[in-house]
Assembly symmetry: C2
DNA sequence: TATTTTAACGTGTACGTTACCGTTATGAAA
DNA sequence: TTTCATAACGGTAACGTACACGTTAAAATA
């Protein structure tokens, strides 16, 4: 398709011409380096504004062989393979932007070990970096870490869970409360009367906090929409091995004299599904979280009725991209970016994008 | 963060060095232009492969100042504002890639006028372009158009609806049949027994075809999952003014002696919602398509229970990006890219991303 | 044989920006 | 006065690639 029309007066060169200075001086004010008199700086700034000058990022990045290090600090994949998805998203984003001289440093911690967070964080802080993407699973530790970042003037974005008070560039993740609320609506739509059991399965007391937000939202739905004859009950399960789960469920269901629907507040819904199959209770309504292989298996079988997805891969992708936009492109980003509350069923799972 | 480590033998220069040729020759084989002996071409190709050479797109685009014209041929926003979303997505994509010298030419046609499609298409073909994104609403006309494209060797991607036989780069849009199937599941989940009415509202006989695919899927669900006492009925409405719709609905509902749920096969669900409000039938289950302002209004009011979304904005975005990836980046794309079948409710709509 | 063509390759400049280094002028310290 | 520091600026070589053009030698033609 031919070549561009003769460059119609744009770029630093044109700015330099109009201001009667060299392009070097223009460059100085663009990157507000020192060595320019206030008068010239003013003049050039005006010209830039009036031209609506946008530096050519291609040329810029090419010339300044600058390299930016982005660090990510997230849990390693453990019991569930949940955290593989954000990693995938992060790597996809990296693939797209490494042309611009972005290098990625990954640090992993153990969700079952607070200390490992601090350890990884210290390792991270050792090395220089220009931005960090962090999943602040442990509130206190993450707060300490981000304080360091602020002291060193390193911007950070939160992913997957938020610490509202902090001065993060952005939070990218689910609105936990509302996702529980949504689960409430779904169960309510399918069950007009009966017993509903809320199931919290988590070994870690810290991540427990997240589950509670979902539970609150869930309960709130039934509070806001009375009318049906729904009875809510709840069970916390700390021993996450399958046998303990099954025994606990047996006990509570016996106590309640049967349940009609179960809401599992995290991705461990697969364990409950497995239990229901074993007890031949597949017809119970079952809702849980996360588009994981094991969960989808039960979704396909019709044991799980709905999965709520929070786009973990997209979270990772957007997280890194947010850093990129802010640090490299100099764009402004929204302060929070809630993921959609995706409803996944046997009928639509094959088109779902994490 | 400092400068990059001394360029460790990469790029065309290194290839040239290894092959004992000039970089111009390397350039020739990279862009497979003529003027290179078969032997040298072979040798250079091998070196490229073994080095895993990836041309620096920044430098490439900068040097070549090449401009690619992408054309889009889609309906103009009319009765519904549905097509505003794809346009938004397209423009967002353009914003991202215009740095690479992409210029966008938009052509609109009238969904109520086949001729306007051909007219716009001819206009488009007048001008040179390197790729086109087309919503092939009229099968015959679009087939003709894409034949021209193939003759002129212009790649094209389909958006929003497909023409399976054609040799498009890619189809990006919903799986209509399955989306209907999904609607079936939702209604079935909330209604164990009763009358369900399928409502097709469309003036254009041509776009009717799409509605039928959805209806087929919807019916298929109840066929595959018998058990409930669900009776299906159907009504086609060609006169799309509100009064005709209401009269027709009055008649059919009287005839059926009441309905418990309605499935509207397109975005005109708002009209049915309006009707239900007027007749004080808001409690009926109502499902329809598309995340449009008017529809969301009734969703919020609880008149519409579920909306099925097909990410129109993302369709536009991905459509243009697919062209970009294929034509500029030289990447290979999947042949079809079905959008997820999104389930939107009163509870999650505020987080939905079109 | 002399001339022209052509295949096959090399040279050099441009793309828009960055950053290093050099230059000038001015004023303060010696 | 000279010396020197410093602020304010200019010149220009890169960055990696693209491409117009120049060159060479061999083959084709006259």
């Amino acid at each position: 398709m031919g070549r561009q029309k003769k460059t119609e007066l744009s770029g630093v060169k044109e700015i330099a011409r109009r201001a009667n200075v060299s392009i070097a001086t223009v460059d100085r004010v663009i990157h507000n380096r020192k060595g320019v008199s206030e008068a010239t700086r003013q003049k050039i700034s005006e010209i830039i504004a009036e031209m609506g000058f946008q530096p050519n990022i291609l040329a810029s990045r090419l010339a300044s062989k600058k390299v930016n290090h982005f660090a990510v600090l997230i849990p390693k994949s453990s019991e569930t393979d949940y955290w593989e998805s954000p990693v995938k998203g992060i790597e996809r984003a990296h693939q797209e932007i490494k042309q611009y001289g972005i290098v990625l440093d990954k640090y992993f911690y153990d969700l079952n070990d607070k200390k490992s967070f601090t350890k990884a964080a210290n390792l991270l802080l050792q090395k220089q970096c220009d931005g960090v993407l962090v999943a602040p699973s442990f509130i206190r530790e993450a707060t300490d870490f981000t304080s360091y970042c602020q002291a060193k003037n390193i911007p950070y974005v939160f992913i997957n869970s938020d610490i509202p008070g902090r001065d993060s560039l952005c939070y990218i993740g689910p609105h936990l409360y509302k996702s529980g609320y949504q689960a409430g609506q779904l169960i309510s739509f399918g069950l007009k009367a009966g017993n509903v059991l809320i199931v919290n399965i988590s070994r870690e007391i810290d991540s427990y906090h997240h589950l509670l937000r979902k539970e609150d939202g869930f309960r709130a739905y039934f509070n806001d929409n009375k009318g049906g004859q729904i009875e809510l009950a709840k069970i916390d399960i700390r021993d996450t091995d399958q046998q303990s789960i099954e025994e606990t469920l047996d006990a509570i269901i016996a106590e309640l004299q049967g349940v009609d629907a179960l809401f599992v507040t995290n991705s461990r819904v697969r364990s409950v599904a497995s239990y229901l199959v074993k007890r031949k209770l597949e017809h119970k309504i079952l809702i849980g979280y996360d588009f994981l292989q094991e969960n989808v298996k039960y979704l396909k079988q019709g044991v799980i009725d709905f999965l709520i997805g929070q786009k973990p891969e997209e979270q990772g992708y957007l997280g890194l991209m947010t850093l990129f936009q802010h640090i490299v492109m100099g764009g402004e980003m929204a302060q929070v970016n809630y993921m959609p509350i995706d409803i996944i069923t046997k009928e639509n799972y094959e088109f779902y994008k994490n």
